[in-house]
Subunit: 351 residues, 2 copies
């Protein structure tokens, strides 16, 4: 198991080629995913281990990516804490019907026991790990406390994030109380996911970028570091991906994460110069490049390999989730290009 290139790269150990996977790789751009989705609503897929496992495995089989990420949603954790989650068909997206609006709402939230209240995730992890049968490692994930709190307070995604930002600026103590609870619940959840068989963990801070740098560090990073301190990692690499937070790469690395996810708004060479000497990096092809053509995709893959240069510690990925209308052939061309173009960067390093 320690020889998977993905896990080796997370630990900044030498590899023969750069491992590659894609955020949201189990998703709508795949006809095989859409076929299952057509017969099941989104939450049913999350909560049926057989289905979650099946769509998790699709990109491994179809594209040949070097890691499998379990199909799930970050919002199943707040749901298990007592919030009412609905996913409306069509344009809706996930939504909490009773967003958090008071200290009492926060106090009512429970710390769920994953072995019962989130058993469906653990079963999906166990089943997927078994079906992978050692081909590629399995990644589990959680939202960051801040990102979960944003959804729980706003009720859904938002354009201005008015309500959570009012909490940041006018009621910071209540927010810290909520984040503390989420760090505890998140750590307990991640520990169970690791125990069920996840071989790496990614923490998604999708809404870190809606905060100015000082507030990002106070409300998001501090709670991520707290959550990570409660995770019994025992060698399981952790990837922290904060979207649009290029201003704080050094501080993200300082949380003690093994890998920092780099989105496409950051130059990978500059990220490597800033934090590459003590942490691995994951990223960062603009997913919109997958709209272009196999030749253009390959040229951008080479550019990113050159930016990182001949050194250990790079997990190739998109700089954000794959877009739902991406042509599958272009996703395949991306994975193929990384596999074919990256070995020479590692040979250089070995000499």
């Amino acid at each position: 198991m320690r020889n998977f290139p993905f896990l080796r790269a997370c630990r900044r150990e030498p590899v023969n080629r750069t491992p590659v996977w894609m955020m949201r790789q189990a998703g709508r751009y795949l006809p095989e995913y859409r076929a299952i989705r057509a017969r099941n609503d989104f939450l049913t897929m999350c909560k049926t281990p057989e289905l979650a496992s099946e769509v998790s495995l699709q990109p491994v089989e179809i594209l040949g990516v070097d890691a499998c990420i379990i199909f799930s949603d970050i919002l199943v954790l707040p749901e298990a804490m007592g919030m009412n989650l609905v996913v409306e068909e069509g344009t809706g997206g996930p939504r909490f019907t009773d967003p958090i609006r008071s200290r009492a709402d926060i106090d009512r939230l429970g710390i769920p026991d994953p072995s019962t209240e989130l058993k469906f995730v653990l079963d999906a992890v166990r089943l997927t790990r078994q079906r992978l049968d050692g081909t590629v490692p399995l990644i589990g994930f959680s939202g960051s406390p801040w990102t979960l709190a944003s959804y729980m307070v706003e009720g859904s995604g938002s354009k201005t994030f008015r309500t959570i930002k009012e909490m940041v600026y006018a009621h910071p103590q209540d927010l810290h109380h909520l984040l503390e609870k989420l760090a505890q619940a998140g750590a307990r959840y991640l520990n169970a996911v690791i125990e069920a068989g996840a071989q790496a963990i990614q923490i998604f801070d999708s809404w870190g970028g809606i905060l100015p740098p000082d507030e990002f560090r106070e409300f998001s990073l501090r709670s991520i570091a707290h959550m990570m301190s409660l995770v019994r990692k025992e060698g399981t690499p952790v990837i922290v991906f904060c979207r649009e937070c290029g201003h704080s790469l050094e501080q993200i690395a300082d949380t003690g994460t093994d890998v920092v996810g780099i989105d496409w708004t950051i130059d990978l060479r500059s990220a490597k110069d800033r934090i590459g000497s003590h942490t691995a990096l994951q990223g960062n092809l603009d997913p919109a490049i997958l709209y272009s053509s196999p030749d253009v995709i390959r040229s951008h893959v080479i550019r990113i390999l050159e930016k990182f240069g001949p050194a250990p510690g790079h997990v190739f990925n998109l700089g954000h989730g794959i877009l739902p209308d991406t042509p599958v052939e272009h996703a395949k061309a991306f994975v193929q290009a990384v596999k074919e173009e990256s070995p020479r960067f590692h040979r250089v390093q070995a000499t």
Copy 2:
């Protein structure tokens, strides 16, 4: 005229207090604006000098800001180049009915003569300048070539900007051709706006942040620099505001702009360390802070004044446009706090 604190700060000359204005200060948060808007559609307001002038003056009279920005829309320029602009009431926002999809579409675009085809803007500038009667200076503005191109190719704002990004990655030569034309049209427009009486110019690059750093520099910054090289400034300060482009502050400063607009995703102290020795900075309070309370607003104003420190070259502003549901009393409290708290930072500097 050279003694307006706003213009002095743009030129990094000493001032007695930090000047302040707000992006989108002539807007929906003001009941006086909504009263006029209720009787007129958005484009009618842009195209009726009397109305445009009236709403431009409102924030000067109501809030006491240190600069007036002419009420207009960046999309009137592409409209004058031959595109069909509509603004749908309700959620719609401005939209081009026939977005650019081919080289032939680009070739059909004209370079408008502002004195006839954009006369309504010039008349509004002349009228507003006259009515201001030397109280505060008047700012004119334009979109950056890249931001205008994004709207013209997508037809409107977008979540993924798929079409313009396909152009970036698959048809860069066509895009450069379009940007070249926009730089020429934009410079001709800005020259006319300056001649009509604008005492400073802001270039809005609202969509610079949808590009990775290399592409931002190639497609947005290069065309901004080209446009600026064609503007006959003759002492008129230029402010370049690229939203979510903190990765490239040095390169933005290198365009030769007098002032770099800093959005709220960037720490102002770090911005000053990076480029403050040779350019003025404008910004950068998170507009969401205006939701909180006068006390909280004041504490954040002080924090930003401290981050910039006792030096010339700071124009206080929000780090993005004021949000439409901001309480007017909070906007007033913001302006007041800057006026009351900033003098001591300039006294320190004078000793």
